[in-house]
Symmetry: C2
Subunit: 336 residues, 2 copies
DNA sequence: CTTCGATTTCGAACCGCTTCGATTGAAGAT
DNA sequence: ATCTTCAATCGAAGCGGTTCGAAATCGAAG
């Protein structure tokens, strides 16, 4: 009913506690005979060293901190997976702080990271973070931005060219003859969404006679998509967009569902482009054309940059890696 | 460039470190004047107490451990969310160990839980865990099983009646006149899947002239579902099942996609029932009938039971809470 | 102006582990 | 036989907080 500590192991093996510690962590300092004895004593007792004590002494936690805007978004989930790949290859674990679109939570996570002495942090900033990041820097905790770029150029980053993504989507629709485009996206405050819209606007500006109507929504769940689909379907054909760029596949799949359930044909009447290329895009009722972001790779790259900074292999200026979009064309934009 | 410790705060506020600690944690012991002085000193310096040190002294981590079989499965993801709800209401955090269908990882997680001194553990056992759970018990760490029942009746648990779930799905198909059923499921070793099949078998046994063909797959991703759909579509109509129970919505949605892409009609030729009622079930090409499990509620209940055991409010025998399935009927089984 | 209890503040021990410097003993050098 | 040298082992000092009991301070009562 009691925890097994290093003392118990020492007693059982008949040695001092420092010898136990050495036998377990630096066996080359201890005679083979004793290493064996200590190891078997530890096994028999089921000894597990206490993380808190090790960490307190060592001053290192073996942890990377990572904040993501919303883990329910598969883009971020994949990014986390990529970061975990890289971290575990280096023998570190990743402590994930899910901000759930909440600025206050995001700040709390950075504080948590200090509490647990993360050795570095991967941050997908959502709210204004400068002062907090400044503080981490002051504490000597390296930071790499993910899915964002530091304007001041002080922090290295791994990001995605959202302007190009929005532009690619819109150009694809324009190329297939669509002219009345709509952009359905999450709140305008989100940089990623703003930039995608901006990209779409650039494409539209380059194309004579084309228009773009922005439509905003708070949440980007599939049922909101359904609602927008039904809403668009209720418009007269002339007033209805014939091409829609969305900021998110959930929204897009719902939108297509809503349109079709009201008798609007996809892609004949309205073509739709999603964003993220989630698993279900390919097997949706009408398979969805989508902009793919290499999330996992981005996460891995960011973690590797962070590890390089931690180990001091690289200076502060690892630069800004920017990934480019890829358009996966499927049925929702297939025919004219 | 240096961490701010309690000593720094003490110095700045002109008091001893014990007064700082008291002012911050038990302000009723300290004069208001000093509490203010200490608080503002702490704020100005950005003092954050080190978790490892607090934990080492207190012997408590403020953490619940939770292992899940695979977090990519939304059923488990929701369960985790439910547990987090309950835990954060009690001021605790949840340390999630994702086993990713890997028995070794699952064991490692339990060891991790000891290292970090979790105050209790929620375990969705996957591999054989008796010895490990026994050990946690020996260390005085309370455990509640989730999505499983302890045969020996020693551990409390929150689970789901998978036999009833399988039965419900099959009965629904039989009631709509289907007779040649198939069951497509993940590996037979998984208890949940075995029990669902068993439930389906019970239903079939009660219905004269009905048959059930089990089909096994390693992974249960949507692309496997597509493959099975195409495979079934290739059979002659007489040889093809007219009703399919799947162990998972991803599989089911893929299956429907595969069938339709090969010209088999759903639900006219083949009716399909999924499991989990994920977000996309409702907006799939053909909206999917599915067995719903109250994942979030299960997670919350389990965490509450665990908290009760930790605080000693309840004895070891909180019993086994079993949730019952609910069938959400949609288009994939609608007409005959 | 003492004396006493209550209140406020402080010093020091301790949580479990790692690590540095010291100790011991055996082997080799002189 | 004495002195080094080196390997193997151990004792004890912290890491950064919390907390207990002692010390200091203060006001009111004697």
């Amino acid at each position: 009913m009691k925890r097994v500590g290093i003392r118990d192991v020492a007693e059982r093996a008949g040695v001092s506690i420092s010898t136990v510690s050495n036998a377990l962590n630096r066996p080359y300092l201890v005679s083979e005979r004793l290493v064996d004895r200590v190891r078997s004593a530890a096994d028999q007792l089921g000894y597990v060293p206490l993380q808190a004590a090790q960490q307190l002494r060592a001053g290192r936690s073996g942890l990377l901190g990572m904040t993501v805007i919303n883990i329910a978004n598969p883009f971020f989930a994949d990014m986390v997976a990529g970061a975990e790949d890289a971290a575990s290859a280096a023998g570190l674990r990743v402590l994930v702080g899910n901000s759930s679109d909440d600025v206050a939570k995001e700040r709390d996570h950075l504080e948590l990271f200090e509490r647990v002495q993360v050795e570095g942090a991967l941050v997908s900033p959502f709210g204004p973070l400068e002062p907090w990041l400044e503080r981490l820097r002051g504490r000597g905790i390296p930071v790499v931005l993910v899915d964002a770029i530091d304007d001041t150029g002080e922090l290295p980053s791994v990001s995605f060219d959202d302007v190009a993504g929005g532009r690619l989507a819109a150009e694809h629709l324009l190329a297939s003859g669509r002219r009345r485009l709509a952009f359905v996206g999450a709140r305008e405050e989100v940089r990623q969404v703003r930039e995608r819209l901006q990209g779409a606007r650039l494409a539209v500006a380059d194309c004579a006679g084309a228009t773009l109507e922005p439509i905003w929504t708070e949440r980007t769940t599939s049922d909101r998509g359904v609602a927008f689909g039904e809403q668009l379907a209720a418009r007269s054909a002339a007033d209805r967009p014939d091409g829609v760029v969305t900021s998110n596949d959930h929204l897009a799949i719902g939108l297509v569902h809503g349109l079709i359930s009201r008798g609007v044909r996809v892609p004949e009447d309205v073509a739709v482009v999603g964003y993220d290329d989630i698993e279900f895009a390919a097997i949706a009722g009408v398979p969805l054309t989508s902009v793919r972001q290499p999330a996992r790779e981005m996460g891995r790259t960011a973690a590797e940059m962070l590890l390089a900074r931690i180990s001091g292999t690289a200076g502060a200026d690892l630069g800004n890696v920017v990934y480019r979009p890829e358009l996966i064309v499927r049925a929702t934009t297939m025919s004219a």
